[in-house]
Symmetry: C2
Subunit: 242 residues, 2 copies
């Protein structure tokens, strides 16, 4: 494969958490149709794990992460990024802030991309959401799924505590089998309550659950990035990237 079109330089506003950013970048590389290094998408990653906890901020229990997100967006644009992605679902509660900071560079919406993918695969479905308590409280997926004609379903407060513990467990580099057990009650109750799909709507979740069990929002975002970044390449070469 020889390419003549130029891929966009992708800026990744990451570090939320770091393992999730590494997972996202790995999925981005794997989603890219490439034969040599030079076929891949140029990427700049800003991974500042000192960004204050997004869920704590959304629950009114911690500082607003906006200044950190703005600083990251500015740094990525300064480094030449032509398209931005944020591999953290909870941070999408602050998407408008990032978009203002990155303007006129486009910032992809992971939540909207994921809702669109689920609607394409299972129109009208009832869809469970495994996410941080911050993402649930901000109703990011509830609105995005409903906007696509899907019925969102969230865990009850007790099983949600298990999901949040599992997420913290992954962030702490803890045992993944243990984290998996912590999410099991929520996953089971969502399916038992009628969900026909469950979205891994926190980027730590795919690190512990099989992709066969959930729709992986991280992978959806990775594919969206590759599609957009190579749009120009495809137009020239008929690149089979989808």
């Amino acid at each position: 494969m020889t390419r003549r079109g130029r891929a966009l330089k992708v800026g990744i506003l990451g570090g939320m958490g770091p393992a999730a950013t590494a997972d996202f970048y790995t999925k981005l590389v794997r989603s890219t149709p490439a034969v040599t290094d030079q076929d891949h998408v140029p990427v700049v990653i800003w991974a500042d794990p000192t960004i204050p906890d997004r869920t704590a901020a959304l629950l009114g229990q911690g500082p607003d992460p906006s200044p950190w997100l703005e600083q990251g967006a500015h740094a990525l644009v300064l480094a030449g990024a032509e398209l931005l992605a944020i591999p953290c679902n909870t941070a999408h509660a602050f998407l408008d802030t990032v978009r203002s900071a990155a303007s006129p560079v486009h910032v992809l919406d992971m939540v909207a991309e994921t809702a669109a993918e689920v609607a394409r695969l299972q129109p009208g479905a009832t869809v469970g959401v495994l996410a941080t308590t911050g993402t649930l409280k901000a109703e990011l997926y509830q609105h995005a799924l409903a906007g696509r004609g899907l019925t969102p379903l969230v865990p009850d407060d007790t099983t949600q505590l298990g999901v949040m513990s599992a997420i913290r467990h992954v962030k702490a580099g803890g045992d993944l089998a243990e984290a998996r057990q912590l999410t099991a009650p929520a996953l089971q109750s969502l399916y038992r309550s009628g969900a026909t799909a469950v979205v891994a709507a926190c980027t730590e979740i795919p690190l512990l659950l099989q992709s066969s069990d959930v729709v992986d929002a991280t992978a959806v975002l990775a594919r969206a990035v590759v599609r957009r970044a190579l749009a120009d390449v495809r137009a020239i070469e008929g690149n089979p990237c989808h």
Copy 2:
């Protein structure tokens, strides 16, 4: 764990190849003693896979990648990096160029770190080198290992062709089992010729070989980065990072 010291911001000059950079970042995250996101090292990654092939340049068959490496080093320093790492062994043939471009920011030497680690684990050993043909031609590991009192051993020209094919296979996102088979003759002949350790001296190699079979230069660099980046934190907190 509460920390008071500040971690250095790490710049990663990557994209050579992208999967190897993702692997390096994953290992860096896993090497970090952390309980929350905020305990992790801030990282900026410049992954420009359009950097011309390093081996081709060293064999006089392709353009000099120096301008691309300089551009990346400048971008990382501009983004505030206080310590640089290059997760590509072959690119270390151009280490002086990167160091000049990044000055006064320190650039870690993956080859020197790895030779030091092998010398610590197996003083005086005979050490096999699985690397690109460019790395071998530049004699990066031959010099570094000899400088530490170790005896370097490289594959013969025929088995080296298999190693280079395996590396290209990984860069192309090919089947890893097949790539593993391509390196098997070199690995076996190095051990048969008296090597008691073999260094995975190309960042694509650990993607296909078990860490029990080789000394993983990527992991060595990741640990060196964490050690340096958290040096100040350790001084204050007695952090157990090693």
